[in-house]
């Protein structure tokens, strides 16, 4: 093979590897950074952390909504499935629980319009034993983030939502 052709093919392969590698790496990297932040550098795995009211100083995750109260559970399913529960907010205020895999995909979401009495499900890896009769969400990755969003556009509604969310659970069955 001619030298120029060989170098050209090598160059094209390197460009493709750099481009695709970065595109695939970024979501996993940013998710890992976010999980580290919300779990207080790994100190709070498999339990909810209740965030303060969103302000201009909220810098943990990009583009936060100042109208919502956020609670996060950085999960690790390597030790077994988890039971996730979210209590409703007063006056049927909006509550959703969303599950994000390690590649950032939103793999499940439930809200209190569907479940006005509260949200409850088991989060597991494929093949893990789960209790009969429970709603089960299968995660494609051991690690990820469960996010509780509650409508809280002012200080009074935030206080009410904050009180309600303290009954949330994210932990081993």
């Amino acid at each position: 093979m001619k030298r120029s052709v060989q170098l050209g093919l090598l160059f094209a392969a390197a460009v493709a590897a750099g481009h695709v590698g970065l595109v695939l790496f970024v979501p996993h990297f940013l998710m890992s950074v976010a999980a580290g932040r919300v779990s207080q550098d790994g100190a709070a795995i498999n339990r909810f952390v209740f965030g303060p009211r969103t302000t201009q100083n909220s810098r943990g995750v990009v583009r936060p909504s100042p109208d919502l109260a956020y609670s996060t559970c950085a999960f690790d399913l390597s030790g077994g499935p988890l039971l996730i529960e979210a209590a409703p907010s007063p006056n049927a205020g909006y509550v959703s629980i969303s599950v994000f895999a390690a590649n950032t995909d939103n793999i499940a979401v439930f809200d209190t319009a569907q479940f006005p009495q509260g949200i409850r499900f088991v989060l597991a890896r494929k093949g893990q034993a789960t209790p009969a009769g429970e709603r089960v969400v299968i995660s494609p990755s051991d690690k990820g983030i469960v996010l509780d969003r509650r409508l809280a556009p002012n200080a009074a509604l935030f206080a009410a939502a904050d009180q309600a969310r303290r009954a949330d659970k994210c932990g081993p069955i």
């Binding site: 030298r3 590897a17 481009h19 695709v20 979501p27």
Partner: protein
Amino acid sequence: MADPNKTSLWAKAATISVGLIVGLLSGWWAITGGMGGQNYSGWYGSAVTGSADAGPWLRARVAISGLLALNKSQAIYLTRKTDDDGAPLREECRYRVTGGPIPGQWWSVTVYAADNFLPLNDDDALSFDATEVARDEAGRWSATLAPTRPEGQAWASTRKAGNFDITLRIYQPSAAAQADFGSIPLPKVTRLSCGEKA
């Protein structure tokens, strides 16, 4: 005598290094610049944001500028960086945002600075939402984007926002809205004046 067609190890290493750098730069260029998606009357959004159906490029774009975004069954995100004339949204200008009924249980419009975070002001007015706007009989409403508070109108402060963008979040959107973002009657953003800076 050396074979002119034989490539030295050094030449291969240099070619691979330059190729990797070009690839990384082109990858970064492809995934920065916002959440991307289609243009709906100046608002940009993607029906596969947050979804497992998102391709690797959209997934990476969303990770950078909208990590932990919900999929469209729960929330629709639409972002715009320009006014109705196509000019960039700027802190020193005042804008009127007008709209009608939005097909969801609740919605909000939030201001974000170029770093994808909320502007560093303490006006406690980083957004306006469906509960704050006054509607006429037809459900039409109006709000203001400006660095200073207007009289008697819903307001989101753009003070210290620089060149900013706004995101419309529609929670629990209707089935029709989920099926076709183009069917959503989206708010207009009209520039009123420029030149003031708080």
